[in-house]
């Protein structure tokens, strides 16, 4: 790489971007440059400030200090007006958020058209837009059914709509926030191919990720963020994954190790279970699984393939249409969350803020949420506040929940501490069966490692754990066996040592599930 940079080569320059949220310094004097036709990886663990930085660039947030410079098509850099997504869009910045920003009830076409024509215009010009989009789809290799309601599209298709949306608006800089988090490995491959084609056509890309392998694979340059600061800015071919990992975390990462353990007796048995989904379809059809003591059973799959139904079933939120669920050799009351709690099932929900805790209640109240009717927490219809608070103090201590105390409002806790609170609530009851649904999503590496250690401890104690995760690395690290969900069908569980990521990816995409199932039968 040459040392003298042509000025017109730079399409985006961030200078001294600083952003505070209360006491938290999310971005600290960040400098960054993006070259035309390049893929820049922005690497950092959860909470390092990547998303905040990109939200500033895109105008969702206003920086406290610093400026964003963007090149016009002629190559001249000029400052971008902050705090306005429309200014960013106009300057040629497109963003694909981690959580897609699409309106489900509108068609893909309408989602793309939204905001592209003057609001004062008396008619929506659909015809020429359609023409332009057809050309765009052909040129980029991104194709979707434009007339389908977005809610009916698969995750991969939605992502394509998002990218098309940005391209349609003439984006010259594309920001992708954790784009592979929701894809199968093969879909991710396909995305990378599309991206390299787009880069050849002159697009510049900022690729946000915490996955080292893909950063190494797709980017020319890597910027590493840690605790809001740029800690490294290097050419990708001058570094390696191990080096990046250490730079990203800033310390040696305690590696989670699963020691081999002989599985105990069978504790949970699902036999040919069907669970209803939306629109009268089955979200889970004829799913069977066996869970033993001292065992973690991983469930892989692209989101939307029946994970919600499986989780709802074990959490007691939904009763099955057919099939049997046997716990410790006995049929149990299904479709009742309190029944599941009473049966000794510990449940860690996917959406911890929505389902896991009541944000407006105190920490001690949330810790008592599942057990408030037991003599430990209430007597003759009244809460035993003293006992509940004392219990909360112990849990806060044992699980290292960082909060001012039992009286703190739960909504003010960070994501990692909310997860610790839920773990405390679930694990102090000593459950025999644990359902953990996406237990690491959105947490920083410290909280993730901590959560993994807790789950492995529970396994060592004799619990069986069903682990639903979209993160294949997590699944392969923790699980003794892995099963794959695709379109509501569950593959037989395979020993983790005997499967490869590639194989799992194929099964997640629907190849091989039937055959494997057939072979097993």
């Amino acid at each position: 790489m040459s040392e003298t940079r042509e000025p017109e080569d730079i399409v985006l320059r961030l200078r001294g971007i600083t952003k505070r949220f209360g006491a938290l310094l999310a971005n600290d004097a960040i400098d960054l440059e993006l070259r035309r036709g390049a893929i820049l990886a922005l690497l950092g663990e959860n909470g390092a400030g990547k998303t905040t930085l990109m939200n500033i660039l895109f105008g969702h947030y206003l920086a406290d200090e610093g400026e964003v410079l963007i090149a016009d098509p002629g190559g001249t850099l000029s400052p971008l007006r902050g705090g306005s997504p429309s200014a960013a869009l106009e300057a040629g910045v497109g963003m694909v958020h981690q959580h897609f920003t699409l309106a489900d009830n509108l068609s893909a076409f309408e989602n793309i058209l939204l905001g592209t024509q003057s609001l004062a215009r008396p008619w929506l010009d659909r015809r020429s837009a359609r023409h332009k989009l057809d050309q765009l789809m052909e040129g980029s290799g991104l194709s979707v059914d434009l007339d389908a309601a977005v809610g009916m599209l698969s995750v991969g298709e939605r992502q394509r709509v998002e990218i098309l949306k940005a391209l349609y608006r003439g984006a010259r800089i594309l920001i992708l926030d954790e784009p592979t988090a929701v894809l199968t490995p093969q879909e991710a491959e396909r995305l990378f191919e599309t991206l390299s084609r787009l880069v050849e056509q002159g697009l510049s890309i900022v690729f946000i990720s915490h996955k080292l392998a893909e950063v190494m694979a797709v980017s020319q340059r890597v910027v590493v963020l840690r605790a809001g600061k740029v800690v490294a800015d290097l050419a990708t071919d001058e570094t390696n994954a191990a080096n990046l990992a250490e730079t990203m975390v800033g310390r040696a990462i305690p590696k989670t190790v699963r020691t081999a353990m002989a599985p105990g007796e069978e504790i949970l048995n699902l036999n040919k279970v069907c669970v209803a989904g939306a629109h009268g379809r089955l979200a889970l059809s004829d799913a069977s699984l066996i869970l033993r003591q001292h065992e973690i059973l991983g469930i892989a799959g692209v989101s939307g393939n029946g994970q919600v139904a499986l989780s709802n079933l074990i959490c007691g939120l939904q009763a099955p249409e057919s099939g049997s669920v046997i716990l410790h050799g006995q049929a149990i009351e299904l479709g009742s969350p309190s029944g599941m709690v009473a049966a000794g099932i510990g449940r860690i929900p996917e959406d911890r803020l929505h389902d896991g805790v009541v944000g407006d209640m105190n920490v001690w109240e949330n810790l008592a949420l599942e057990d408030y009717l037991t003599p430990a927490f209430s007597r003759t219809g009244f809460m035993r506040r003293g006992a509940a608070r004392a219990h909360a103090r112990r849990s806060i201590e044992d699980f290292d929940v960082r909060c001012p105390g039992p009286e703190a409002a739960t909504r003010l806790l960070s994501g990692g501490n909310v997860q610790k609170l839920i773990l405390a609530r679930v694990l102090t009851r000593g459950p025999n069966v644990i359902l953990a649904n996406q237990p690491s999503r959105g947490l920083d590496i410290g909280a993730v490692t901590e959560g993994h250690r807790r789950l492995l401890d529970a396994r060592a104690r004799g619990a069986g754990i069903v682990l639903i995760s979209e993160d294949l690395d997590e699944l392969l690290t923790l699980s003794d066996r892995v099963a794959v969900l695709h379109r509501g069908r569950m593959s037989p569980a395979m020993a983790t040592e005997e499967v490869t990521i590639r194989q799992l990816g194929l099964m997640m995409a629907g190849h091989g599930t039937e055959r494997t199932a057939h072979d097993a039968a």
């Binding site: 406290d64 959490c315 969350p337 805790v357 407006d360 109240e365 599942e370 809460m383 506040r385």
Partner: protein, 349 residues
């Protein structure tokens, strides 16, 4: 401009916010007074005098506060669980109708049995009325705001039908009103020759009971969790529908008791002008109190002062007593702003 959640609410702010809200409401209500070309100080002075200036005035205010405490509690209990019961007006009238039905001679019992009977019957009527929208919400997903509001009109027409028909007082000289409540069913007066009656004591006791229930009991724990996050409450294993039904019944019963108090304590018979919108004012009372049951008692007193005082002022200087409704409605809106100030900090960028 950005709103940033506060990590803790300083006590001074918690007290200053409602006070500031009321001050702002009074300030805004001065605009129509200036328009009416009367002295703002004189008008507010008259309101104060009319509501608190004499022994008689104070008893009038207390009498007016009684139904407002009940309807305020009805709203507070329901809103806490995010059950939008806007039907307290109808529940009040149905409670009053039920009290009149058993209290006008249909049942003959001594006082110690008769008073509990009218109370229970009235509370039951209000509770059962609220059960309809609650069940519709739970079973069929029908929005309770609209159903409770529409039921108010239905109940009022029903009451009108009853007191012009089967329950009409033959001695009423043709006026649509029920027969008078028998002495055994009449709530005793607290002060002789005034309108304050034992309902006030009951209302205050109800306020304390609701506070204890909300803050200390398992029922309150459930209701608060269901109100703040139905999904998390359900996930944790709470019987969400049962909690909602319980809340609806309690809320309706409290509103029904407001009606019993007015019929058996104040008026002595049922008419169609029994309530000048106590059910709706109860919503304001509950919001002024930030849904806190003990604060409801204070807020009801404030609203009663405004209403009683405005009547007095209206008679004295001829400004329409709708000024009272204006002050009360404005204070609801300013109180909403104040609640924002206690939850968030305003940051300028």
């Amino acid at each position: 401009m950005r709103l940033e959640p506060r990590t803790q609410v300083p006590l001074a702010l918690a007290i200053a916010a409602p006070a500031g809200a009321i001050a702002l409401a009074l300030l805004l209500a001065a605009i129509p007074l200036i328009w009416a070309e009367v002295s703002v100080f004189e008008a507010y002075g008259l309101i104060f005098k009319g509501a608190l200036g004499s022994r008689f005035a104070i008893t009038e205010t207390l009498a007016r506060a009684t139904p407002l405490i009940f309807t305020g509690l009805a709203a507070a209990v329901a809103f806490r669980a995010k059950l939008w019961n806007i039907g307290a007006e109808g529940q009040l009238y149905l409670g009053a109708l039920a009290a009149a039905a058993v209290g006008t001679g249909a049942v003959a019992m001594p006082t110690f049995a008769m008073i509990p009977l009218v109370l229970v019957v009235g509370a039951l009527a209000g509770a059962l009325l609220m059960l309809i929208p609650t069940l519709l919400k739970l079973r069929l997903g029908v929005d309770e705001v609209v159903t409770t509001l529409l039921l108010n009109f239905v109940v009022l027409l029903f009451v009108s039908m009853m007191i012009e028909g089967p329950m009409k007082d033959p001695m009423g000289m043709g006026w649509p009103q029920s027969e008078p409540i028998v002495d055994e069913a009449t709530l005793p007066k607290l002060v002789a020759r005034t309108r304050v009656h034992a309902g006030l004591i009951l209302a205050i006791l109800a306020g304390i009971a609701v506070w204890v229930m909300t803050q200390r009991s398992v029922w309150g724990f459930e209701a608060r969790a269901v109100g703040a996050s139905p999904a998390a409450a359900r996930f944790a294993g709470m019987p969400v529908p049962r909690v909602m039904i319980r809340v609806g019944l309690i809320s309706g019963a409290l509103a029904g008791l407001a009606g019993v108090g007015e019929v058996a304590g104040l008026k002595g018979y049922l008419t169609l002008d029994l309530s000048p919108g106590f059910g709706y004012s109860g919503i304001v009372v509950a919001m002024l109190a930030q849904l806190n049951a003990l604060a409801v008692i204070v807020a009801a007193m404030f609203v009663a002062v405004v209403f009683v005082g405005a009547d007095f002022m209206s008679r004295a200087i001829g400004v329409s007593n709708y000024l009272a409704n204006l002050v009360v409605a404005t204070s609801l809106l300013t109180m909403l702003l104040a609640s924002l100030a206690t939850r968030y900090r305003l940051r300028w960028h």
